[in-house]
């Protein structure tokens, strides 16, 4: 009897991500992992923990906090940090606003999403981080489809799509000078469905708002926005209660939810497998600003 030496696609993706985590830990001095409590960063954290087992994570985690959070997500974040004994650093957008380093948009549609970039770059600078793990996936958005696993950023944290380093085999080039850094995307080749399949298979805990629950929402620009204390209603908007869940979790003012009754990971896997709308298309108001909205923000230093 001969053994079939084959990996399932999830095992292959996991192996690739684990390789990336170990590569960074071996070749950088001060890596940090961006952790918001969202599903991608939760999966990243789970993979990182696997990569270094039985040792603890050899780097801290960083939350760039817009201040407009879902309470459930912050509670979840703190629970995970406590349970895993992580070293959490929080960089607050509010601090940059208070210091006058950035100016907050005004008006009912104002979002702090764009302001995150300055706070992220400040945190990287102040922490002296040379590698920053982000949970971005290439299937999310067309600008991200062109992103490398190791993405070079200059002193200002900028991404230059025309000047990306070729990335061959699994030989990653993390060369940088002081002040420059590398964004690292271990989930590059994962899709939304892969993430959920992994969550279901590994029984990974997520913030409860990823599963169907009833909450007040408003319809705006073809999206469903949660009626939280951060949302200012426009004329004619009337909150109503619905059974919803979130596909992505970010700033509460611009992250939409979808109507759903999927209350377990397996039900979400089935729902995601059947959907014909991307998660960003369904739930991210800020991506709709322009055709190249994400590209422009990435060039500024967004992850």
């Amino acid at each position: 009897m001969s053994t079939v030496y084959e990996l399932s696609h999830l095992d292959a993706l996991e192996a690739e991500s684990v390789h990336v985590f170990r590569e960074v830990a071996a070749t950088f001095e001060h890596p940090v992992l961006l952790f918001s409590g969202g599903k991608d960063s939760v999966v990243m954290l789970a993979l990182a923990a696997k990569a270094f087992w039985p040792a603890p994570l050899p780097f801290p985690v960083l939350h760039v906090d817009t201040g407009h959070n879902f309470d459930e997500v912050i509670a979840f974040r703190d629970r995970v940090v406590e349970r895993m004994g992580l070293c959490l650093e929080v960089a607050r957008v509010q601090d940059d606003i208070d210091a006058g380093r950035v100016t907050e948009d005004t008006g009912p549609r104002a979002s702090r999403n764009r302001l995150q970039t300055a706070t992220l770059l400040r945190a990287i600078r102040e922490g002296g981080f040379d590698a920053v793990f982000g949970g971005a996936r290439r299937d999310e958005e067309k600008a991200r489809a062109k992103e490398r696993v190791f993405s070079f950023r200059d002193e200002s944290g900028q991404w230059d799509p025309r000047n990306q380093r070729p990335e061959l085999w699994n030989l990653y080039n993390g060369r940088h000078r002081r002040g420059e850094h590398i964004r690292v995307f271990p989930l590059s080749n994962w899709t939304e469905l892969d993430i959920w399949s992994f969550i279901a298979a590994e029984r990974i805990e997520l913030p409860p708002i990823y599963y169907a629950h009833r909450r007040p929402v408003v319809q705006r620009d073809g999206m469903l926005l949660a009626h939280t204390r951060f949302l200012r209603l426009l004329g004619g908007e009337e909150p109503y209660e619905a059974s919803v869940r979130f596909r992505t979790v970010g700033d509460a003012t611009c992250t939409g939810c979808i109507e759903s009754t999927a209350s377990t990971a397996d039900e979400v896997v089935a729902e995601v497998a059947a959907t014909r709308v991307t998660e960003r298309g369904a739930t991210r108001a800020d991506d709709r600003i322009s055709e190249a909205g994400m590209e422009d923000r990435k060039k500024e230093g967004y992850f």
Binding site: E167, W169, T191
Partner: protein, 610 residues
């Protein structure tokens, strides 16, 4: 359990590549309505009255503005059987660099041709690059079949045309599918318009193609990536991605370059799952017995199956940088598996014309997108295999120390043998299944130069080391195989030809053929070498350079005396010429100590010799 298949696409935009990808995504329900709406919106803004599916992959602002594709885009789609990662490589000016990037990890290359235009320069380039990068499977999609009236003859013509070209390449699995990406014929569903086509649809082919056997499961290789220690539990594990072969707990292993022996105590998968067999591309953590000093850049393998260790390598490189060129004398940082050191370009052997496959040996440098063969010397020894044998231990990148940029991609051909013209072919498919691999050691020199003594000793040592070897002695063969031949120039040529053929067969069968033959004429020996090279077998020419007076003084069979006395005519060295090799792989002189050992040393440096 769906599996992952990585494919790289190639072909110029006009060949309908984006349409084909769009069709695959859409028909497999992986193209989302908001993405499609965005494409429709962007197409309208550009004044196009149809959804331009190229906009799905051309995502960057500059690409949209200029209508060109800047870089490789990665796309994902899935069927219940498989998950696909498409490296969508643009067909524009920077084709080589981008294709190399996208193709380095691909299991399959998809090349598109327009049925009206047939096989064009671009198709040949892409096929060559796919073969150079060692992509095991190649699919030629003949697109726009609707525009040639679904012509069976046209398809057959293109297929034959391409097949002729592909014969020059190292392509093991080649498929042809006639499609119409626009109408969806043979993309996901079989076409009703081409009833003469008996094969499967493209998607079905992608789901079925057998890729598991493409990995090297023979040569166990684990480059140590990271050492995991856990304080308090006394845990010390060597983490890394298996680059070849299969490791099991209990295996005897050796750690290179130190050469320390040990045993696999335990293997852990990510998160601490016990692993009974670790194979590529699993990421594992290995615990070894005993207290060893092992670090990143070391390599764990089996004692009887080691990679090459050396500072001199022969490699094909693709220059990827727009600024600067690759020139002999320059030094770079080389990244190879988890090791990093400095590499100096010793020599540019030739630049390869990707269109004609012509080798330009007068080339002085490699510029952007150019490919050439180089010799490198590294500061520290590397632990490597030939790329054809193992993509993970045979590949490297060069990094420019000033800019930090990745400037070249390299594929190792084998160890460099300075002052040798031997082309060290790596193993061909089929031979790998044999228990051993053969080659020919050809000893040439005057009568009584000592060839046979060396050959006998070499054969003895090889056999003693468990290596199948067989001595083909020129004199002995003249009693049987060549009993009908005399010593005229024609008969000597025929003698050499026959022994050369026999040696080649032995080598092909996995035996080391040790031929000991005066073989006085350069041209005859050259033919034997060429026959070996054509067969992909190493041929090692050893010149036993013993001066005539020494040979004549030895004269064990009294032949020189007879020749001097005129009893024998046409005796080599006396009244018939001996043409010494112009570039032998090894020269042995009478005062050399242990000549057989010197041949063995040379063999040990061969890519063939595992």
């Amino acid at each position: 359990m769906p599996q992952l298949l990585r494919l790289a696409t190639a072909g110029s935009v006009d060949d309908g590549k984006s349409t084909l990808i769009g069709r695959l995504l859409f028909d497999s329900k992986s193209l989302f309505t908001d993405q499609l709406a965005a494409v429709e919106r962007a197409s309208r803004q550009r004044g196009e009255d149809y959804p331009n599916l190229a906009l799905l992959t051309d995502g960057l602002r500059a690409e949209r503005e200029q209508g060109i594709t800047i870089d490789v885009a990665y796309r994902y789609f899935a069927t219940p059987r498989r998950k696909f990662v498409i490296a969508d490589t643009p067909g524009h000016i920077q084709y080589t660099r981008n294709m190399v990037t996208g193709a380095s990890t691909a299991d399959l290359a998809l090349i598109l041709v327009d049925a009206r235009k047939g096989v064009v320069q671009q198709s040949r380039r892409h096929a060559f690059l796919a073969s150079l990068l060692g992509i095991p499977h190649l699919v030629l999609c003949v697109n726009k079949m609707d525009l040639v009236g679904w012509s069976r003859e046209r398809f057959a013509e293109i297929r034959e045309d391409f097949r002729r070209f592909a014969m020059k390449l190292d392509v093991t699995d080649l498929s042809f599918i006639p499609v119409s990406a626009l109408h969806g014929d043979n993309v996901v569903h079989r076409s009703a318009s081409m009833p003469w086509y008996e094969g499967t649809s493209l998607l079905h082919h992608l789901e079925e193609v057998h890729v598991a056997s493409d990995r090297n499961l023979i040569d166990a290789r684990l480059p140590v990536q990271y050492v995991i220690r856990q304080a308090g539990r006394d845990f010390r594990g060597y983490a890394g991605t298996v680059a070849g072969g299969v490791f099991k707990p209990g295996d005897e292993v050796v750690v290179l370059p130190s050469g320390l022996s040990s045993r696999v105590a335990a293997i852990w998968g990510p998160g601490g799952l016990p692993v009974t067999e670790a194979f590529p591309p699993q990421a594992v953590t290995v615990q070894l017995t005993g207290d060893l000093d092992v670090g990143r850049g070391d390599l764990i393998c089996r004692p009887a199956n080691r990679p090459h260790t050396g500072q001199d390598l022969d490699a094909m490189v693709c220059w990827l940088a727009g600024a600067g060129t690759l020139t002999p004398g320059a030094t770079y940082t080389i990244r190879h598996t988890t090791a990093e050191t400095t590499a100096a370009v010793q020599k540019l052997e030739y630049r390869l014309d990707v269109d004609t496959l012509h080798r330009d040996e007068s080339a002085r440098a490699l510029a952007l997108n150019e490919i050439g063969r180089v010799q490198l010397r590294t500061r520290k020894p590397l632990l490597f295999d030939a790329y054809r044998r193992n993509r993970a231990t045979g590949s490297f990148i060069l990094v420019d120390d000033t800019t930090g940029n990745t400037v070249a991609a390299g594929m190792i051909t084998g160890p460099a043998l300075p002052a040798s013209r031997v082309v060290w072919h790596a193993a061909a498919v089929g031979r790998e299944e044999r228990a051993t691999r053969g080659l020919t050691v050809w000893l040439t020199g005057l009568s009584a130069s000592g060839k046979s003594t060396i050959a006998v000793e070499l054969e003895r040592r090889l056999v003693a080391a468990g290596r199948p070897a067989y001595l083909l002695d020129g004199d002995n063969l003249r009693h049987g195989l060549n009993a009908d031949l005399g010593f005229s120039a024609e008969d000597r040529a025929e003698n050499v030809r026959r022994v050369g053929e026999v040696a080649r067969l032995f080598a092909d069968a996995g035996v080391v053929a040790v031929a000991s033959l005066i073989s006085p004429y350069r041209q005859d020996r050259e033919r034997v070498r060429q026959a070996h090279e054509r067969a992909g077998l190493p041929f090692l020419e050893v010149f036993v350079d013993t001066p005539l007076p020494v040979c004549e003084a030895r004269d064990p069979k009294g032949m020189y005396a007879k020749a001097r006395a005129g009893e024998i005519r046409g005796f080599t060295g006396i009244d018939d010429p001996y043409e010494p090799p112009s570039a032998p792989d090894l020269v042995l002189r009478p005062d050399d100590e242990d000549p057989a050992a010197r041949i063995l040393t040379l063999l040990n440096r061969s890519a063939w010799w595992e």
